[in-house]
Symmetry: C2
Subunit: 259 residues, 2 copies
């Protein structure tokens, strides 16, 4: 996926100068493997950005960034019972990230964005990026008109992606209820417990069914744990997969270099 990069918004770089940077943060732990992978994507996005702006890439030219991985109550479970426990845990965590001086934070969990606006209101001095909105902006820039959405039951319940996609005029195809349960098993009994082979088989199964019904539409991997195994599936080589974590990592890199 190419980074939508506009170097003109940054201080003009030269071979000798360094892009100005700001401290950014990542709120992870939802789950921890996805949080670790988000850092990898962010580091790659920073390197891409520096290369595209003609700056040398070395340890010292990366922006300072923090990852906080903290236990947060299950988001999908909370949404099914109108429980705000994740909100309180995430608000406390963001307050602690604020103390280290971050100017912007990305949350490495799609479902967590159900509480985005309330969290943003609690930390008005920090920009809290919004993953589904960043993804929709990215899809619009590519002029995509139709997608499929793989996500958690919590994310489907919030309609986070569906609403933003509809507003942008992009048709969104959803899996059937039984297929959504298959995705949940892949996430909870697969990735979250370390059984990656099982996770992959669940994700591939649902992706194949969506493509079977709707043709070769791009698939949004709308849970940060889905790309951890789906992208390496042999069947996926032919599919167009959109990784919201990668899009969000690029957005966070843009904030880190917006001196």
């Amino acid at each position: 996926m190419p980074a939508a990069l506009d170097c003109s918004t940054l201080a003009a770089p030269s071979a000798a100068s360094e892009l100005p940077t700001r401290i950014v943060g990542i709120l992870g732990g939802m789950g921890p493997a996805a949080g670790a992978d988000f850092v990898r994507l962010f580091v790659q996005a920073c390197a891409d950005r520096m290369q595209q702006c003609g700056q040398a890439v070395n340890d010292q030219t990366f922006p300072e960034h923090w990852l906080m991985q903290v236990p947060v109550p299950d988001r999908t479970q909370a949404l099914s019972s109108a429980d705000d426990a994740p909100l309180e845990a995430m608000a406390r965590a963001l307050g602690r990230l604020e103390t280290v001086g971050v100017c912007a934070v990305a949350m490495a969990c799609n479902t967590a964005h159900a509480w985005h606006d309330e969290l943003q209101a609690r930390i008005p001095l920090i920009e809290l990026l919004h993953m589904p909105r960043e993804v929709v902006a990215y899809l619009r820039a590519l002029r995509l008109r139709e997608v499929g959405l793989l996500a958690t039951q919590g994310t489907y319940r919030t309609g986070l992606y569906e609403a933003a996609l509809a507003q942008a005029g992009i048709t969104c195809h959803l899996p059937y209820e039984a297929e959504r349960e298959t995705l949940m098993r892949g996430i909870y009994d697969g990735v979250k417990t370390g059984d990656m082979a099982y996770a992959q088989s669940c994700f591939v199964d649902v992706a194949q069914r969506l493509i079977g019904r709707h043709g070769d539409v791009p698939l949004i991997m709308g849970c940060t744990e889905i790309p951890l195994t789906l992208t390496s599936a042999p069947q996926a080589a032919k599919w167009t997969l959109v990784n919201p974590a990668q899009v969000l990592a690029q957005a966070l890199a843009s904030r880190a270099y917006a001196g």
Copy 2:
């Protein structure tokens, strides 16, 4: 690599109980890709530990952990000119990690351990793990008598591994000077700038030469950027590679669960 795990030192777990956890930190940025990979290894080490202790693995049972990736002046360059700039940058960073409440910190850079004892003296209330010492303890537990060492010029200059290995009675084979320069090119012109194919070719070349001279000895990948490409090389499938970052991640997980 198996984790040397002793559940007897932990509170007796049951299916219903959770292992007690403590907050731990990771000082990265040296380079950032290696720091990101260290979090992945730490998360895996935590999952392994929970599974081996019979505890359910889910988002909420992982210990809180922080990764701080901050620009630190080049370690090898500083060691060649008796410059303490990395020490000051790392001491400041550790002081900031201290404020978030970590009880133990791992540094995701072998060469940085040249300053380990001075850094530990500056943060007496936090345990600063020592990567080469953890690796030697691991090799002793496996009763290995002979290894090869792939590292930066800075790490060779400090003799960090050689001294600890000699004390444990383990023979350490080193690359010739020209081969060490090949490793440096793989690290600096390869991994640190994102050219992973070039990095891999450099690391494979030196590994093959060491094995050619000394037989099929285990190779310590004594720079956190070497495993990022060497472990996936087809040639490496036949070799015994020791990843100090993985050993250190397991050690950090043991601190995180030592309630």
